[in-house]
Symmetry: C2
């Protein structure tokens, strides 16, 4: 973090805590410079940042004052999905969203791409280039079926931070987290089975269920504590549910981290009902808190949790390096890896292993955690500023995704189609429901750097929503 | 091709055609040097090569003589598999075979790895290194779901050689041919369905069926003309078969190229019975004949052929770049690609596209075709020399795989276990049958350069088989 960011954060905290109150004059630039031993321009930058965030307002020739405190928008309430197994729909919408990837002029707020523009990633392609030149034999030949051992050893070490104890032999490399989930699901379920999911639930996971003809039962989920264990228990009594897919850490799309006692409670429930848990930990390393939150897998004593993850969000999507810790399902998972795809690309596996080994990974992730946290604060401010009243916004505990709930009548699928013409891509909430609920919601990717251009996009977005509301009211 | 190889081929042809007869003296080194305008040492090298192939024998102070003509071993007869749908077994054996990949001290005659040691591959990793350094944005981000357009355009051009007319939009990139087949099968079939396969059939395809709980009905297959259309027709009358998996060009493991009229006949049969054809063309570019043979897809007018291929055998396995031309199943195939794995690695796709665009691909494949053809001749000679009598050997029309049929009693699964201790890995024939038939057969990878060391391995192999036969006779 740079000095001015550090100072801005400190001041923001003091305002938040009420140490500087609404309307109060802030210390002069000179005084702060003296107090913190930083340059005048550093203080000016920090004040500019706070002004951007609308926490302070400048008054000509008088200095800076604490801005009137706008109430934070409330968080979304517990979701209330359909309470029976349904077939997943919405593929056409997902396809439209994916179709936007090729178009570089599009402001891609709909996808889940991380920021890959930071200099802390440079060692990655330096390493990759070195590997390509010096290890042609390794990069050209078939890899081991379970994936490269050196990488698996590095992953085993990383996972200790989340409390997951696994050896290299317990890990199977896959082509990203999506492939990991796909292989995991396919190793446990068969077509026609029922699987429980959080609601809202990441559209990629939904489409995976659709592809395999597995039915989804969507369970009410709280935007701060996660899936309702009580509702899941009720569903288990009614339906022959095979497993449950969870994103307990830095949930996609809601951003919560399930409290530890709830993680343990859901594991106990799974044990009682002999359920498999598919734990998607792809955003787990990007939690605001440090050390990172524990995985459900970390308490798993009978191997029923299949932990799936990847370096897509923490390093880069183009690597396509993910993994499964399959517990008791190892043999079946290895066979399904062979059946669905065979071995994975050695080049990117080697580059990642080396990126971790040389210490670049931890440095990069530490940096990205802070950047994403600041991004989300900025985007939340913008949403508050440009969106109409009466909205709910999540307060993510990690990752880089915001979930916004708009008034009931707004149809984000329609608004999204209009926005696409303006080269703005968003993910309407309906993608995150098996049956197309949450049309009045949207997910916003705060991985995109909060530039002025992106600020304008959020303003356009707010305007489009405002128009939609007015149009609805006029009918 | 070097000069001496050219000359050796020419002389071998003349011997084959009977222009030089058994026992006849060959022209002197000096005469040949004069006749062909090449150096003395070139002629000596050519003669050495022919001697290695046992086509000629030197007689001290008299020169070279045409060797007594050994009868070529006969080719295997039409296979006779079980005539009903069965569940695929043999996974444990496949796992053992795959397990050997990590061990570099193993002579890997069991797998299907191509030779990646040739200098004509060098531009590939030069390109890859350049791409990594100059296009970090492209290699780090998500790719298009269908795969990179520049690569698809190159593939569309390549496929014209096999008569396949497709645009970039008709092609979907996958993580290798295995993933292509997996997605293709999964897009058309569901668990419990029956699919017809050639017999013997590549074990990877078999295990794919097993993974998806699809039953295989093995159809008698001739080692020179391919699947018996009559037997397939009979099976179609008895069973609700959904599709047929074929490797019509440079078949794995038998090496045949289906004659064009038989390709058309099987397509007509598929049309009459509304079957899908899964055409695996992975070895098609490595046919001995030039121009390369046509695909069944090239006659496909109603989009029922799903052509699957990759650069695994023509360039390198580590790239994991394959593709499908899915015909009428495009939407479903795209969805299944998304469901099973999402996007593929951009780096290797870009490297391949550039390798083709710059003309390196055609140069490399031309070279490899010749190398593999020579390798197979040499290995066939060695098999003839070191293996006991009473064997049948295929005469592959391309690719780099030999299939050897031994006397009925020999159990190559047992022999293989003994050989593994000597660090020799072979693929016992039982892998190529759903129900473990062909235990008296083996597949030999002639992609491995025919070095002296490998000659010794073939000798050891022959010896192990001889011992097994003697042991059986003694019982």
């Amino acid at each position: 973090m740079t000095r001015y960011q550090h100072l801005a954060n400190l001041l923001a905290e003091r305002i938040e805590q009420g140490l500087y109150r609404h309307g109060e004059k802030l210390p002069s630039v000179r005084a702060l410079s003296h107090e913190h031993g930083v340059s005048i321009s550093t203080v000016q930058q920090a004040y500019q940042k706070l002004e951007d965030l609308q926490l302070i307002t400048p008054q000509p020739r008088s200095g800076y004052f604490v801005a009137p405190r706008k109430a934070q928008p409330p968080v979304p309430a517990m979701s209330r999905p359909v309470q029976r197994p349904v077939e997943v729909t919405q593929w056409e919408q997902v396809l439209t969203l994916l179709g936007g990837r090729g178009d570089k002029s599009m402001a891609a707020f709909g996808g889940g791409s991380p920021d890959v523009s930071q200099s802390s990633l440079k060692p990655l392609w330096r390493e990759m280039s070195r590997i390509v030149q010096h290890h042609p034999g390794d990069i050209l030949n078939y890899d081991e079926l379970a994936g490269r051992r050196d990488l698996r050893e590095q992953i085993a070490r990383l996972m200790l931070d989340g409390g997951t104890v696994a050896t290299a032999d317990d890990i199977i490399i896959t082509q990203g987290c999506h492939a990991a989930l796909s292989i995991a699901l396919f190793s446990v379920c068969k077509p026609g089975d029922i699987v429980a999911v959080e609601s809202p639930c990441y559209y990629g996971t939904m489409q995976l269920l659709r592809g395999f003809n597995i039915k989804a039962i969507e369970i009410p989920t709280d935007s701060q504590t996660g899936i309702s264990i009580e509702a899941l228990e009720l569903a288990l009594e009614q339906w022959p549910i095979k497993g449950v897919i969870l994103v307990p850490n830095c949930n996609n799309p809601l951003g919560f981290i399930m409290p530890d006692d709830r993680k343990r409670a859901i594991l106990a429930l799974a044990q009682r009902h002999d359920l498999a848990i598919f734990e998607d930990d792809i955003y787990g390393e990007l939690a605001n808190e440090y050390p990172r939150p524990r995985t459900i897998k970390s308490w798993d004593i009978d191997g029923r949790v299949l932990l799936c993850s990847s370096f897509t969000k923490t390093i880069a999507p183009g690597l396509r390096v993910g993994w499964i810790v399959p517990g008791r399902y190892r043999d079946r998972v290895l066979h399904m890896k062979y059946a669905t795809s065979g071995t994975t690309v050695p080049t990117t596996q080697m580059a990642v292993a080396s990126f971790i080994r040389e210490g670049h990974y931890h440095r990069h992730v530490r940096r990205m955690r802070q950047i994403y946290q600041q991004n989300m604060e900025t985007y939340t401010c913008w949403v508050r500023q440009y969106f109409p009243c009466g909205i709910c916004v999540t307060r993510p505990q990690g990752g880089f995704l915001l979930w916004v709930e708009l008034p009931e009548l707004v149809d984000m699928v329609c608004v999204g189609q209009q926005l696409a013409r303006l080269k703005i891509q968003i993910a309407p909430g309906s993608l995150f429901s098996a049956s197309g609920k949450y049309r009045n919601c949207l997910r916003l990717n705060c991985g995109l750097p909060p530039t002025e251009q992106h600020q304008r996009v959020v303003a356009q977005l707010g305007e489009a929503i405002r128009v939609a509301i007015e149009w609805n009211n006029a009918r």
